[in-house]
Subunit: 246 residues, 2 copies
C-alpha cells in the first residue's frame, strides 16, 4: 500500500525538480537571465515564480497530509506546515504577478488582456480566498466545529479546482510567451520548432504530468491521513470544545 | 438533495448552450463563417468541433449516470447512451483535428508545434484509449467481473483527467488563435482588447466554468447512481456469471 504511495510521491518530487530546472533554464539559457529592474529580464521571473508557487509548492503542499510518517505526529504541526507552504506559494505567485505587471508598465503593454491572464488572475484570487478561509476555518482556535466540518469538503474540492486553474494558466502562459517572443523575432518561428520551443513545450508537459501525479495521490482514499486519532484531537480542540471539557 | 443536483445540472446545461453559441458566433461573426475547402474558413471548424466534442458532449456524457430519473431504468440503456455520446464526442474531436491538419497542409503550416497542440493531441489519444478500454471492459458481455471491478475506478479517474486535459487544450487554443489572428493583422492588437478578444476570452471562462460544474456534479457522492439494484444487475451479467446462474 505505502509502496504505491511512495512511488507516486517520488515521481511527483522528481517532476517538481524537473519543472524547476526547466523553467529556470528557459530564463537563463534562452531569455537572457533574471533581473528586477523593469527590463525584459524582469519578466523572466514571471514563469519561474508562477511555476514554483502555483504548481510545485502548491502541489507538494496539497499532498503533505498523505505522508504516512506524519500520521503519528500532531495534526496541528502538519496544518502549520501545509498553511506555511501554501503561504509561501501565495507569496511567490504574488511576486510573479508583480513581475509581469512591472514589465507591462515599463514597456507600455496593457495588463490582463489575454484569456491566459484572465484565468491566471482568477487562480491567484481563488487561491488567496482559499488560504484566508482555510486560516479562519481550520487554524484559528475560535472557529466552531460545525464550520470546520462543513468547510472541509469545500476546502478539499476548491484545492483541486485551484490546481486545475494553475495548470490551465501555466500551459496557456507558456504558449503565449513562446508565440510572442519567438514569432516577434521572425515570422512564425515557433512553428519551425526551434530547440527553445521543444524544451519549453516539454516544460508544459512536465507541469501537466506533475499535476496529474498530485491528483493521483489525492484520489486514493487509503492514502488519506486517518481521522480517528483521539490524542491529536484533544491537543487541537477549538476553544469552545476545550472549555466544555474543562 | 435532488434540487441541488438539478440546480447544478441546469447551470451546466446553460453553460453548454452558451459555450456552443459563443464558439459558433466567433466563427460566423468575426472569422468569416465556415467551409470545408482548405481555406481560412476550413480552420474555423476546429474550435467549434473541439469545444462541442471535448467539452460540451464529453462533459454532459460524463454526468449522464447522475440523472436521478434514470436510476430506476436498466443500467445497460444508460451505458449505451454514455458510450454513444462519448463516441459522438470522439468523432467530433477527430473531425476537429482533421480541420486543423487540412488547414495546415493548405497553408504550409507545420503540424503540432505548440504546447497547445501537444496537450490537445494527447487529450484525443487519451480519450480514444479510454473509449476503447471502456467498450471492452464495460460493454462487451464477455469481459469478466474482476476486470469491470478493477477498471471502474481507473475509468472514472481517467475520465476526470481527460476533462482537465480538454480544458487546458481549449483555453490554450483560444489564446493561441487570438494571438495569431489578431496580432497577425496589426501589431499586438490582442492587447488592445477589441470586442472579439473580450468575447472569446469570455468563451474561455465559460468553458472553464462548465468544466468546474461537471467536476462539481462528479464530486458529490450522494448524486451517484445507487449500485445495489439487483433487477438491473441480473439483466446485465457478464456471460460467465450468467452461465453460473443458469
Amino acid at each position: 500500500m505505502a509502496s504505491g504511495f511512495y512511488f507516486l510521491y517520488g515521481l511527483c518530487l522528481c517532476l517538481s525538480l524537473l519543472c524547476a530546472l526547466f523553467v529556470v533554464s528557459w530564463g537563463l539559457y534562452w531569455r537572457g537571465g533574471f533581473a528586477w529592474d523593469g527590463s525584459q529580464l524582469h519578466f523572466n521571473w514571471h514563469p519561474v515564480l508562477m511555476v514554483s508557487g502555483l504548481v510545485i509548492l502548491y502541489g507538494n503542499s496539497a499532498v503533505v497530509y498523505r505522508l504516512p510518517f506524519t500520521w503519528k505526529q500532531k495534526k496541528l504541526i502538519w496544518k502549520l506546515v501545509h498553511a506555511g507552504m501554501m503561504f509561501l506559494a501565495l507569496l511567490l505567485s504574488g511576486l510573479g504577478l508583480s513581475a509581469t505587471f512591472d514589465f507591462h508598465r515599463a514597456f507600455n503593454i496593457p495588463h490582463l488582456y489575454s484569456v491566459h491572464s484572465w484565468v491566471g488572475i482568477s487562480t491567484v484570487v481563488l487561491f488567496s480566498s482559499q488560504w484566508l478561509l482555510g486560516l479562519a476555518g481550520f487554524l484559528l482556535p475560535c472557529s466552531p466545529t460545525w464550520i470546520r466540518t462543513s468547510l472541509k469538503p469545500v476546502h478539499i474540492w476548491m484545492g483541486k479546482v485551484i490546481l486545475v486553474f494553475s495548470l490551465i494558466s501555466c500551459v496557456s502562459g507558456i504558449n503565449e510567451k513562446l508565440l510572442l517572443t519567438l514569432n516577434g523575432v521572425s515570422a512564425a518561428l515557433y512553428n519551425t520548432l526551434p530547440v527553445e520551443a521543444v524544451f519549453v513545450n516539454f516544460l508544459g508537459i512536465l507541469i501537466v504530468a506533475f499535476g496529474l501525479g498530485v491528483f493521483g495521490i489525492l484520489s486514493v482514499k487509503k492514502w488519506q491521513r486517518p481521522e480517528a486519532d483521539p490524542e491529536n484531537h484533544v491537543n487541537y480542540q477549538p476553544y469552545h470544545v476545550s472549555s466544555q471539557i474543562k
